[in-house]
């Protein structure tokens, strides 16, 4: 009997169309747009100005606070301008425009394919290197990695959990990475273990990727302390709290950090980025992005430089199909419809999904029939139907009393609702309001 998390969850059709496709590296485009807010927390501050020459891997923006991340150039060329650009948030925000000339890398980066296993650095040096490389959680939440590796005083990490479940339908970027860069990922995991000073790590992989499970299990025999754990396919298992529950059977209290359960959770893509940063001196400036969709000619996994406009990726996968209704940044469950196909790939872009008109249409909302399907689906044990109601009536006190702030915005409630009610849309709004009230009260 395979493990999974114990409350709620759904199992949408997997549609992993690009599974088994090799990772193809895309050439840099003519111009990249590198947003200064690619992570949760304070925006980075630009350290280059118009006309400055940059190389691949040059630091172009410095972290703007404790919870923030460095940003590096993904191409070589000249800074064209620093201006507002439309990004995946749907708003225009500051970004660095770089015109591409050639492909010259910083000399410090080790570009060879050779696997570097040994590391003599101390845990602090590893964390510093990760911070310098601007690594953030690559699963999509983009929380700066170094912050997670520095547990607050009084808490102690016991285990590293690597999130390789990739529970979002359609997406295969982590899957392809595991198949091609298995050794590097395992070295990355040992580095993470060293960074937080633990001797145990579990890589959780959903059972719909048997090839990845077999591949990593074989490799992991050479890496003491790392265990590969196949998990039952269940959405949203990639949620931090859900994964902790699935793997070590502990629940994180409302409002508490995962470290309170003794776990540090990192995405498998992050582990690979950590390997590259620490062993190869390569900052985070490219990532694997899945381009997929039922009407897409050639669903693929691309290795893309940050700042590449997503229409370049779509072109490489066969162009925008005629009956495309929406372009989603991310997966179908938690992704967001993009305003334009010109938004750049950022650190948080795990996939680009093209939905057909029929798939993307919202059905008309009907009255709630109190079937409680959403209650059964909610992985946080909340009551989405009520939370939506409290938001509509602006009853923030009741919303808070019913833990609206614990919602992880996975969308299971909206997915399962037979009356097509926009549960998550409303709850997300209410969550924002309640979080604001809580912050105001604390300060």
């Amino acid at each position: 009997m395979l493990r999974t998390f114990r409350i709620g969850g759904i199992h949408p059709p997997e549609n992993k169309l690009s599974a088994g496709k090799k990772i193809t590296a895309l050439a840099a485009p003519k111009q990249v747009i590198i947003p200064l807010s690619q992570h949760i927390g304070a925006p980075a501050q630009a350290v280059v100005k118009k006309g400055d020459p940059v190389k691949v891997g040059t630091l172009v923006a410095k972290a703007g606070g404790f919870v923030s991340a460095n940003i590096h150039s993904s191409v070589s060329g000249k800074v064209n301008k620093i201006d507002n650009a439309l990004d995946a948030s749907g708003y225009k925000r500051p970004a660095i425009y770089i015109d591409v000339e050639g492909d010259e890398w910083e000399e410090t980066i080790d570009r060879s394919d050779a696997l570097v296993k040994d590391c003599t650095l101390s845990s602090k040096e590893i964390v510093d290197k990760i911070a310098a490389a601007g690594i953030v959680g690559l699963g999509g939440a983009t929380f700066p990695t170094q912050v997670k590796l520095l547990p607050p005083p009084g808490s102690k990490a016991e285990i590293i959990i690597i999130n390789a479940v990739e529970c979002e339908p359609y997406l295969t970027s982590d899957h392809s990475l595991m198949m091609e860069k298995g050794e590097q990922i395992l070295v990355g995991v040992t580095l993470l273990m060293k960074a937080v000073n633990v001797n145990k790590a579990v890589i959780g992989i959903e059972n719909n990727k048997p090839d990845a499970i077999a591949h990593l299990t074989k490799l992991a025999t050479a890496y003491p302390g790392i265990e590969i754990m196949p998990l039952k396919v269940q959405y949203p298992q990639g949620g931090e709290k859900q994964l902790i529950d699935a793997v070590i059977r502990r629940q994180v209290k409302s409002g508490a950090l995962p470290i309170s359960a003794g776990a540090v959770v990192q995405n498998v893509g992050t582990a690979y980025a950590v390997y590259e940063a620490v062993q190869k001196n390569k900052p985070l400036f490219e990532r694997v992005v899945t381009v997929t969709g039922k009407a897409v000619a050639n669903p693929s996994n691309f290795l893309v430089r940050m700042g590449t406009p997503i229409n370049t990726l779509i072109e490489a996968a066969g162009g925008i199909p005629e009956n495309t209704g929406k372009i989603i940044g991310g997966g179908p469950m938690m992704g967001k419809a993009l305003v334009s196909a010109e938004v750049p790939v950022t650190k948080g872009s795990s996939g680009v999904l093209l939905l057909t008109k029929e798939e993307s249409v919202r059905k008309p909302m009907q009255d709630c029939i109190r079937c409680a399907k959403c209650v059964n689906a909610c992985p946080m044990g909340l009551n989405p139907a009520f939370l939506m109601k409290f938001t509509v009536y602006k009853d923030w006190e009741k919303a808070e009393a019913n833990y609206i702030q614990d919602c992880i915005e996975c969308g299971s409630c909206s997915y399962t609702c037979p009356a097509n009610r926009p549960l998550l849309d409303q709850i997300r709004l209410g969550k924002g309001k309640v979080m604001g009230i809580i912050r105001a009260r604390k300060s």
Binding site: K49, G90, R362, P422, R428, G432
Partner: protein, 314 residues
């Protein structure tokens, strides 16, 4: 038999009455009778426009306050405050009547659509997701959160323009729409003599060229109006002009020089040279000055952009 029942019930009733009377005397809470009197003359809309929780809260505040300075029922205005002052024997604060003003003139015709939103028809929700269906991420979304917030039926979305319009006769300047608008487009402004007012009907902070591309009616921050204004009432900040209504003397010079028609004048008599019909709806300024000023606009916008970048680099 029936007599026993009547007597016993009567006795229980009498004991209860004595007990309740004693309790009501013992635990009596004194309430100023003037609170009820004041509440009587208030409109009773409980809109919260005064800043207090409902008319009861406002009445209590009026009675407790030493003076009525700063206390105003925006719905009732001066007449109601006069009555309140009479009851309390205090001086009523004089306040200029205000009215809600929608500072966006990005009509469907002026703002080309760049995408379509099919989520919940709520400005609050849409604005958490993205900037809007057009290239302007500052302008009105048009889903009518302000309409839902209005207790007085004073604001409605015009289906032709896609923008909300304020019914001046019904607007009580309670400010509910101002709070409801996630884009901070609606502002309470002085109603002005004969309801005449001038305001910049745009809040777009993008650089001139970007704003212009997104919306033909956008304020491009060229600063012509600020130069023209003889009273120093206009400031240009973050690429958007703002008219301080306490300084504005209604000369209308700014309206004439605005190259995009972003400055609106309301309820003025028609000008001599151009005579568009004047109505309560926002009136576009005369066409002639707009056409004249057009060729100069890009140049001004460009110089604006450069100075902005210099300050950024510092």
């Amino acid at each position: 038999m029936i007599l026993i029942a009547v007597i016993s019930l009567g006795a229980i009733g009498a004991i209860g009455a004595v007990f309740l009377y004693a309790a009501s005397k013992k635990f009596e809470v004194y309430e100023d009778p003037r609170i009820a009197q004041v509440q009587e003359v208030l409109p009773g809309a409980n809109c919260g426009g005064c800043g207090y929780p409902g008319c009861g809260g406002f009445a209590t505040a009026c009675v407790k306050a030493d003076t009525l300075d700063g206390l105003l029922c925006p719905v009732g205005g001066a007449p109601v405050m006069g009555k309140v002052a009479a009851i309390l024997g205090k001086e009523a604060a004089s306040a200029e009547p205000m009215v809600a003003v929608v500072r966006c003139n990005g009509t469907c015709a002026a703002r080309p659509r760049t995408n379509r939103y099919d989520g919940v028809k709520s400005c609050a929700i849409a604005s958490t997701l993205y900037g809007g269906e057009t290239g302007c991420s500052f302008g009105c979304l048009g889903y009518g959160d302000c309409v839902a917030a209005c207790n007085f039926d004073a604001i409605h979305v015009n289906p032709d323009t896609g923008l909300p319009e304020v019914d001046e006769d019904k607007c009580t300047s309670c400010g509910a729409c101002v709070k409801a608008c996630p884009k901070n487009i609606i502002e309470l402004r002085k109603k002005g003599p004969k309801s005449r007012r001038i305001f910049v009907s745009c809040v777009n902070k993008d650089k001139g060229a970007v704003a212009r591309k997104a919306c033909a009616n956008a304020c491009i921050g060229c600063g012509k109006c600020a130069k023209e204004c003889p009273f120093g009432a206009i400031t240009v900040e973050n690429n958007v002009a703002y008219i301080d209504y306490t300084k504005c003397r209604m000369c209308r010079k700014c309206v004439a020089v605005c190259p995009t028609g972003a400055i609106h004048e309301l309820n003025f008599p028609p000008r001599k040279e151009a005579a568009p019909a004047v109505s309560a709806a926002p009136v576009k300024p005369a066409v002639a000055p707009k056409a004249e000023a057009k060729p100069e606009a890009p140049q001004t916008a460009a110089s604006q952009v450069e100075t902005k970048e210099e300050t950024n680099q510092k």
